[in-house]
């Protein structure tokens, strides 16, 4: 580790320094602090629009569950395996912890701990998607447990589908697929951050992307915290 600047952007930094040590803020900002805080405020505003997007699905869920409680109970119990949902919840919670540790590592200038946690979190995201596709989406499409008018589940296995089951599946598919898309985007962002971390872009004086991608990943986790009990655990 080379000399760390004490005054002004890039002051006292040697040529061999890591990129984060050489980082200077964009000219339209007063200083790095303003740039960092400004980017974070923008991220929080974006995250609030994400919450508003998902609140529409949750609203639909509450209205439709209120109208068709029996169908929601039956469809949730029969079509969804809570164990897959619980494993996926644990996977996302652990990956959230990894991302929080990664932000801390960036603040402390621990490059390999930062990159390691970011890549492990992205692996968790991939595992989430693989479980979702292999154990839920593909079998469901094959069996016709699909939303609305596409529903073609023939019944059997001692289960008689209610005419309102497709409504539950509509809520399930739209909300989890939108969430799954966010997980996919999050994985790609984590790869980008991890790759930049390996190149030494992030350290105590510059970690905006780690912080903001981290916030995004936590939000994805946050939404799943609500989706899991509401969809998989209808008693």
């Amino acid at each position: 580790m080379t000399t760390i600047p004490t005054t002004g952007p890039g002051a006292g930094v040697q040529a061999s320094a890591e990129p984060w040590e050489r980082y200077t803020h964009q000219p339209h900002w007063r200083n790095r602090e303003d740039e960092f805080e400004g980017a974070k405020l923008g991220m929080w505003l974006f995250l609030s629009t994400e919450l508003l997007l998902f609140s529409g699905f949750f609203c639909a869920y509450f209205v439709l569950r209120h109208f068709y409680p029996d169908a929601f109970r039956g469809a949730s119990t029969h079509f969804l395996d809570w164990r897959i949902g619980a494993i996926n919840t644990a996977i996302l919670l652990i990956s959230s912890w990894n991302v929080a540790v990664a932000v801390r590592a960036a603040q402390l200038g621990q490059k390999m701990i930062l990159a390691g946690n970011i890549f492990f979190a992205s692996l968790c995201g991939v595992a989430f998607l693989v479980l979702k596709l292999a154990l839920e989406y593909f079998p469901k499409i094959q069996k016709g447990e699909v939303p609305g008018a596409f529903f073609s589940y023939a019944g059997g296995h001692g289960y008689d589908p209610s005419p309102y089951d497709p409504i539950f599946l509509s809520v399930y598919w739209v909300s989890t697929a939108t969430h799954g898309f966010h997980v996919l985007v999050g994985v790609l962002l984590l790869w980008w951050v991890g790759w930049r971390a390996l190149k030494g872009h992030f350290g105590p004086k510059h970690y905006t992307a780690v912080e903001n991608v981290g916030l995004y990943w936590h939000l994805v986790d946050l939404i799943w915290i609500f989706l899991f009990p509401l969809l998989y655990l209808v008693p």
Binding site: L41, W44, L47, W82, P163, H218, L233, P235
Partner: protein, 155 residues
Amino acid sequence: MSHAEPHAIEFEHGHTHHVTSMRLLNTILVILLIFTGLTVAVSRVHLGESLNLWVAVAIAVFKASLVCAVFMHLLHDKAISSLVLFFCVLTIGFFFLFTLIDMDSRHMVDPVRAAPIAAPTIVEEARAEAIAAGELDPAAHTDESHDEHGDAGEH
């Protein structure tokens, strides 16, 4: 991660950033996992349709608060971030509130609209039963029929 745990770093001259301790991050993860188990356990206990739902939502809100406060650093962040989240949640609250008012007052406008909207059903038996019972005109298209005998329930 043992000795010399810094609580803050100097990001820039005159600006420090809070560093969350490993112990707190670990504690939060353990609590989140325990409460995931708890929400599964509670769903096995029958408390009644609405109480089960509220307990599940309450646990989820608690878990979400921990994620926001510690993982997303709201606890040590500038107030503006919390304010953005607060107004977002407030907006969602109004959104849900007005939806609830609509659901609870539909019957005052039109009795038909108080009933759940009939789903176009793929399950032929349900339709055949309704026709046999004389509740449904066989000529009527499913989309337009007002099936008031769906499994509606007021809880």
